[in-house]
Amino acid sequence: MITRFDLAAHTGRWARRGAGGKVGLAVGLLAVALAAPAPWGAGVALPAALALALGPAGVPGRVVGAVMAAPVGFLALSAPLLAVSVAWDQGLVLAWSEEGAWNAAFLAVRALAGTACLALLALTTPLPQVIGMLRRLGLPLVLADLVILTYRMVFLLGDSALTGMRAQQARLGYEGFRGSLRSLAWLASGLLVRTVERARRLEGGLAARGLDETASVPWASSPTRVSEWGLALGLPLVLAALAEGLALGGAGALAGWARAMVAWGGGFL
C-alpha cells in the first residue's frame, strides 16, 4: 500500500512542482477547513482538495479512495458517539442529543476535509521533497540525514517483510490464532536481525566510499513558480472569503463566488 501511494507521489503530474507551493496549498486549504466558519470552511475545502487531486494533479480515483479509507474508519467509530449523551445520576441514561448530532456532522465534514488536504499533499509530494524543504527551513543536518535514511530503509525492510510473510503464508503459517502469532513473532524478530545486519553492511559500504558524515541522497527539487505560489496563496484566500460569504449570505453568495473562483482558478491550473 505504501509503495502504491509513494509511487503516485513520485510519478504524478505534480511530482516535479516545487515542494513549497504544494505544501503551502495543502496547509492553506487545511487552515480554511479548520479555521473558517463551520461547516462552510470545511464544506468548500473538501471538494477543492479532492478536485485538485483528481483533476490537475491526476491522481487516480482508486488511490485517493484507498488513502481516505483508514481515517474514514476512525471517523465512523468515533463521531456517532457525539450524538449520544450519557448521564448516571439516576442510573445509566443514554439519550439522543440533537446538538451533539449536529456537532458530529460538522466534525465529520471537517475531518474529511482535513484528510482530503493531507491526501492531496501525500499523493503529490514525494517525502524527500518535504524533508529537503524542512532542511532549508533549519532542520539540523544530522536529523534530516536520519529521516532520509529511515525513508530509504522503510521500503527495503517493507520488501523483506512482504517476502517473509508470503513465504510463511505458503507454508500455512497463518492458520489459526496460535500459528499466526508464532509466525508474526518469527517474522518480526527476523526483521530486527536483518535490520541490524543491513545497517552494519551499509555503514561499512559508505565508510569504504568515504561517505562517513552524511549519506543523504541529493534530490531534484524544482523551485516553486510564481503561478504555483499564486495558487497556493490565492485559492485558500478565495475559499476562506467564500466560506465567510456563505456564513453571512447563504446560497445567493455561493453562486457569485463560484463564478468568480472558476474564472480566477482557470488561469493557474
Binding site: 476512525f74 482535513g114 484528510t115 493531507l118 509530494t125 529521516v147 524478530s189 552494519r200 549519506a215
Partner: protein, 219 residues
Amino acid sequence: MHIMEGYLPPLHAAAWAAAAAPFVIVGAVKVVRTVREHPESRLLLAASGAFTFVLSALKMPSVTGSCSHPTGAGLGTVLFGPSVMTFMCSIVLLFQALLLAHGGLTTLGANIFSMGIAGPWVGWLVWRSLRGIGASLELSVFAAAALADLATYCVTALQLSLAFPDPVSGVAGAAGKFLGVFAVTQVPLAIVEGLLTVAIMNRLSRYNVGELRQLAVIR
C-alpha cells in the same frame, strides 16, 4: 489508533503539540548526541526507525476475528529506551501522515503524545519496576507491551473527551463513552500485542544476543 487530520479543534491540536514538543526535543537531542559520540549508530538508528514503521504496518491477529496493527511501543521501549522511542515514533507518525495520510499534521502533537510519549514511558516504568523486583523476563515484557498499548488508547480517549465533552455529563461522560467503545477492540489487541512481544523477545534473547548488544548503543 491515530486521531485523523482535522478531528481536533485548532486550540486542542496546538495545546497537544506544545505538550509533546519538550519530549520530542529531548529525544532529538539524545539522538544527535548519540550520533556524534557513536557515528556508526547513525545507520542503526535509521534502520531501527524503519523497523518501527514496518512493525506498525504488520497485520496482527485479533481474538475478535479481525486484524489490526501493533503499536510497537512496548517492544521499541524495551529495545531502544523511551527517549529514543519518542523520537522514532515522531518520525514514524510523520511518515504515516506524509506517506499514507494516516493520522495528520495538525493532530501530530496529540498522536505523538499518546503513541510516542504515554505508551513508551508507561511501558518503560512497568518494565523497570517489574525487572527491579525480580519478575521474569516474560512477565515484564508482556506487562510493558500490553500496558503501553492500553496507555496509548486511554490517552487517545482522554484527548477526544477533552475536545468533545458530553453535553450532559461533561468530560467524564465523554471519557466513559470513548473508553467504552474503543475497549471492545483495544483491550484484546493490547493482550495480543503483549503475547506477540513476549514471543519476539524470547526468540531474540535465545538466538540473537549479539544484535541486542549492538542495539544497546542507542538506548
